[in-house]
């Protein structure tokens, strides 16, 4: 392998964007070698330059981007000196790329068949229409699409997101490329769909021997798909090596920081909290001298780390393992992170929120003539079906589920934007299910607040940060005097660890993490009893995620607030939540304490969900369960058990016809499934930790 010529070789690659503000170096001194059949992962936070590298390899940098120095060699030829015509021959045939948004990569006005057939028709002389069609059909079957013949004649909008991404991968593979670039191919997809794509990617590299570059921000995904990994930070590769080397014997403080800030099984919010990386990513034109990570690094030493550019160094005794750290040989890599004073686990209080048999149905009116004639102009969408759970004071209850599971509808009913069709929603002894927000008293409204998902949408860009928090304080009647309101806003800014002069700032001057902190301050301004956090950190970078979720936990513990944490990220849920409610298509399929839900007996859906979540730990063994098909639409839910269409443990006719019974396994641990309790109890755990770690 060592003497073989690499498929792709980047040497001393420097890429800059030229803007009105001057030259902005996006990627500096980047090296990358991809051997035949190798899968290389590039991992890093947003703005680290990983997508720029991919675009440079495709020679698609756009009008203002340019390769300043260095070379990119593809099978021995330098791509940077090729003519446009030569590049056109190469792209899509020898090098293929899969982008993040499948809908944006497919032409909405052409059938799938046409788009797939273009590849062989364009790149291979003498390929007939019939041949092209035959090959497209075979390739669709190869990417495990059900009913390829039907999909061939469909338009992109007629198939689901997961299917679209499979079509894009099929298109990339049709020309039998030597190198496949995947830029965050699963970020826009649900976890169980993602698991299917990941398995497909693995199969491809085994079967076709295609070299791959897999770009992702998710370390767990890289572990599952790649052989080698390059960690990027602020435009530089900071560490490069095999997956085992980087995951288990890392030699750069940033890599170590990344692993400390992601919730792995074994992390505990009380005993072993996450350790966020302090500080922020430097802007591309404000990078510090020497090591870019210096200002955020615990091992920073003036004179060594800020003396000048630091070159990639080979780690002795490790094969092909490089790091860009000046002090890597001096740092004790085995050192355990300082044990932070363990916070006492909060003792749970009275029941604050109780949801009893709550249902929310929407009526969909179909105004078409056909519907009127057939007499079916009104259809019912069961967005929430018989929700039943409770939350105690100071408790964190996680609601887990994929898109379309009804969690947003539930949040809307809680907030009073919709009223429930049936059932009760009891907050502090009062039923709010039928009271819309306009008819709730200001104190009650203030007691139920929300933290939103998208940091770029959560604040009104036209008003100052302080003004938006102050409005909430006045609205809920906490304070009304101008000076006191201002003092309270300052206090809240202190609580969310933002400087006080943010009062006068506008949201566009803040980073994503800072905006999310303001969102948290706003939710806690009215001294809430219950805060609903709808995926509060899923749009943030890994290192910021840890800090923000830590903050949320701290404030919650301080105020003894009940937190309803809506998320699809099971690793985070396992770390944060006291109790977990798993939802699928509007119904609760399983609920219990975190330990109960994450250990057998499982509901088959919980089992699949646990298996789908990628975990960035090489020592963990997972059972692989891949669900087939897509989440059914709530407009037309399956009969009987909602999960029956995708269930790998389906019993038979009973699942099609009868709603599953809810069985109680231990106090509060309930599973809705037809399978005999004894059989469920015999399930083996999905995630197994090695003995020495489990013993801790």
């Amino acid at each position: 392998m060592a003497d073989a010529t690499p498929i792709l070789e980047c040497r001393n690659l420097c890429i800059s964007y030229f803007t009105r503000a001057g030259e902005i170096p996006a990627v500096v001194d980047f090296d990358l070698i991809v051997m035949p059949g190798e899968a290389v992962g590039i991992v890093g936070e947003s703005g680290c330059g990983k997508s720029t590298v991919a675009l440079a390899i495709m020679q698609y940098l756009g009008g203002n981007g340019r390769i300043v120095s260095g070379e990119i060699r593809f099978m021995g030829q330098d791509l940077t000196t090729m003519s446009q015509e030569e590049l056109r021959q190469l792209r899509g045939s020898k090098i293929a790329m899969v982008y993040q948004e499948p809908m944006a990569s497919l032409n909405p006005s052409m059938t799938i068949a046409r788009q797939l057939m273009e590849v062989p028709l364009y790149h291979e002389a003498g390929c007939s229409e019939a041949d092209a069609r035959q090959r497209a059909l075979e390739m669709l079957a190869d990417v495990r699409l059900p009913d390829p013949a039907r999909i061939m004649d469909a338009y992109p909008h007629q198939i689901s997101g997961g299917q679209q991404q499979r079509v894009v991968i099929a298109m990339a593979l049709l020309s039998n490329p030597s190198l496949l670039l995947l830029d965050e191919p699963t970020t826009a997809l649900d976890v169980t769909v993602e698991a299917g794509i990941v398995q497909l990617v693995r199969e491809i590299s085994e079967r076709y021997g295609t070299s791959m570059i897999y770009i992702s921000h998710n370390l767990g995904l890289i572990l599952e798909t790649c052989d080698r990994i390059t960690v990027m930070y602020s435009g530089e590769a900071v560490e490069e090596g095999s997956v085992e080397q980087v995951f288990d014997r890392m030699r750069h403080p940033y890599t170590k920081g990344l692993f400390n800030s992601i919730p792995l099984p074994g992390a505990d919010k009380h005993a072993r909290p996450l350790m966020p990386i302090p500080g922020q990513l430097p802007l591309p034109h404000e990078r510090p001298p020497g090591c870019n990570f210096g200002p955020r690094c615990d091992h920073f030493r003036a004179g060594v780390c800020d003396a000048g550019p630091i070159a990639m160094a080979t780690v002795p005794a490790h094969q092909r393992h490089y790091t860009r750290c000046a002090r890597f040989s001096e740092i004790d890599w085995q050192a355990r992170p300082e044990v932070v004073e363990a916070a006492a686990s909060a003792n749970l209080g009275e029941v604050v929120l109780r949801v009893e048999n709550m249902k929310k149905y929407y009526e969909l009116r179909d105004p078409s003539l056909m519907a009127l004639i057939s007499g079916r102009s009104v259809r019912t969408v069961k967005a929430n079906e018989k929700l039943d759970f409770e939350a105690r004071e100071a408790e964190t209850v996680a609601i887990v589920g994929e898109s379309g599971c009804g969690k947003s509808t539930f949040a809307k009913v809680m907030m009073g934007l919709e009223t429930a069709t049936e059932g009760k929603l009891i907050l502090d002894g009062k039923d709010l299910a039928q009271t819309p927000v306009e008819r709730r008293r200001p104190q009650v409204v203030g007691h139920l607040q929300m933290v939103f998902q998208n940091p770029f949408d959560t604040l009104n860009p036209s008003h100052t940060v302080g003004g938006q928090i102050a409005r909430v304080i006045r609205k809920f009647g906490v304070e009304s005097d101008q000076a006191k309101v201002e003092a309270r806003v300052m206090e809240l800014l202190d609580i969310v660890k933002l400087p006080r002069d943010f009062y006068k700032r506008r949201p566009r001057q803040l980073s994503g993490g800072q905006k999310q902190r303001v969102g948290i301050a706003r939710a806690f301004a009215g001294n809430p009893r219950v805060v609903v956090a709808d995926e509060p950190v899923s749009a943030l970078d890994v290192s910021v995620q840890a800090a923000v979720s830590q903050l949320l936990m701290d404030i919650q513990r301080e105020n003894r607030t009940t937190l309803i944490f809506i998320s699809h990220d099971l690793s985070l849920v396992r770390y944060l939540a006291d109790r977990v409610v798993v939802m699928y298509l509007g119904t609760i399929v399983e609920q219990g304490t975190t330990d109960e839900v994450f250990a057998p007996p499982y509901h088959p859906y919980t089992e699949a969900l646990l298996s789908a979540v990628p975990i960035a730990d090489t020592s963990i063994r997972k059972k692989i369960i891949v669900l087939h098909g897509d989440i059914p639409s709530a407009v037309d839910p399956p009969s009987g058990c909602p999960f029956q269409t995708r269930c790998p443990r389906k019993l038979g006719a009973i699942c099609d016809t009868e709603e599953p019974p809810i069985r109680e396994f231990s106090a509060g641990h309930r599973i809705a499934c037809h399978i005999e309790p004894a059989l469920l109890a015999e399930m083996e755990p999905v995630i197994t930790m090695p003995p020495e770690q489990a013993a801790e």
Partner: protein, 336 residues
């Protein structure tokens, strides 16, 4: 726990203070209210004195703020030139625009011991004086009519977009009916029925433009109302009016401002056209549309084409100014 470095914000400079919305609105009021009082209500010319520095300051601020876009600076220069003329024309040593002096004097000639820069029209009235006085009426009635159309159109658009349901059905239906008539036909119908006057021009412009404005604002509202901050306002029990005015309107302002500049151009064209057809402001007061109309008859003779060219170029330069301003603003909004 992560600490966030607090970037120190420098004390606001004089320029930043002048750019605050409250100061800008004050300057616009200082410029516009006297002009309206003078043109519409015939208050004495002394009322215009505070408008002179306000115009110059606004122009300077616009040039400093928009210096990145050459197009916007050219546009604002053209518009501000005519606005400045409108404010200072009563103080200029000009001949009476309605007083016949000497017919058919070509530009740059001397007659009766007077120098005629732009000559006189066929009734013997000074063209320079008439052109400069003429911009007042076009500007004041055009801008006021557009502003009224905007207030009504925006309010309807916010209601239709945010409240949706029946509100949207009714407002959009009426809007679509009005939009299905050609604009000119609408203007002519309204002005012949109610009679030509400044007030009726405002009514006609509002009636014809508000539905289009409503559609733009409705579209923007439909997009903005799905944002989380609107959801946050709803979950804290804000009233619909508050949400529309505080949460939605400020975030729709960018496209609204660009469209307003373009629409000012259309309205100016419309008012000039109406006067040309004899349906706008009535003679003998100077007005560009009227001047073009009067010249059109005389311009048959090549010799007198200046009579047509001077008001025509004036009106085009003003409309070009509005359009370039809109282009420049859009260009700048796309850049960052």
């Amino acid at each position: 726990m992560a600490t966030i470095a607090a970037p120190t914000s420098p004390a606001p400079s004089l320029l930043d203070r002048l750019r605050r919305p409250r100061v800008l609105l004050g300057l616009v009021a200082l410029l516009w209210l006297p002009l309206v009082a003078y043109v519409m209500f015939g208050v004495g010319r002394m009322v215009l004195i505070p408008a002179i520095p306000a115009t110059l300051l606004l122009y300077a601020l616009a040039v400093i703020s928009w210096r990145e876009s050459a197009v916007a600076v050219i546009g604002v220069t053209l518009v501000m030139f005519w606005l400045f003329i409108a404010v200072v024309v009563p103080f200029l040593p000009l001949l009476d625009p309605n007083q016949p002096v000497q017919p058919f004097v070509t530009p740059l000639t001397e007659a009766r011991d007077m120098f005629f820069w732009l000559g006189t029209d066929f009734r013997g009235r000074d063209m320079l004086s008439r052109t400069l006085w003429g911009c007042q009426r076009v500007l004041v009635w055009g801008v006021t009519a557009t502003a009224v159309a905007y207030v009504i159109g925006t309010a309807l658009g916010l209601v239709a977009g945010y409240l949706a349901g029946w509100w949207d059905e009714v407002i959009s239906f009426i809007g679509n009916v009005i939009l299905s008539f050609p604009v000119m036909v609408l203007f002519i119908v309204i002005l012949t029925y109610f009679g030509p006057s400044g007030f009726n021009i405002i009514v006609a412009v509002t009636f014809a433009s508000a539905p289009a404005i409503m559609r733009i604002v409705r579209g923007l509202t439909l997009d903005i109302k799905t944002r989380d901050y609107v959801f946050a306002a709803q979950t804290r029990g804000e009233r619909p009016l508050w949400i529309m005015v505080v949460e939605l309107l400020p975030n729709a302002r960018g496209p609204i401002i660009v469209d307003a500049c373009l629409r000012l151009g259309y309205t100016t064209v419309a008012i000039t056209t109406l006067t040309f057809l004899g349906l706008g402001l009535q003679p003998p007061d100077p007005d560009w549309g009227l001047m073009i109309k009067e010249a059109a008859a005389a311009a048959m003779l090549f010799k007198f084409s200046y009579m047509l060219l001077v008001p025509a170029l004036s009106v085009s330069s003003l409309i070009l100014g509005f359009n370039l301003m809109a282009d420049g603003l859009r260009e700048m909004s796309l850049r960052d």
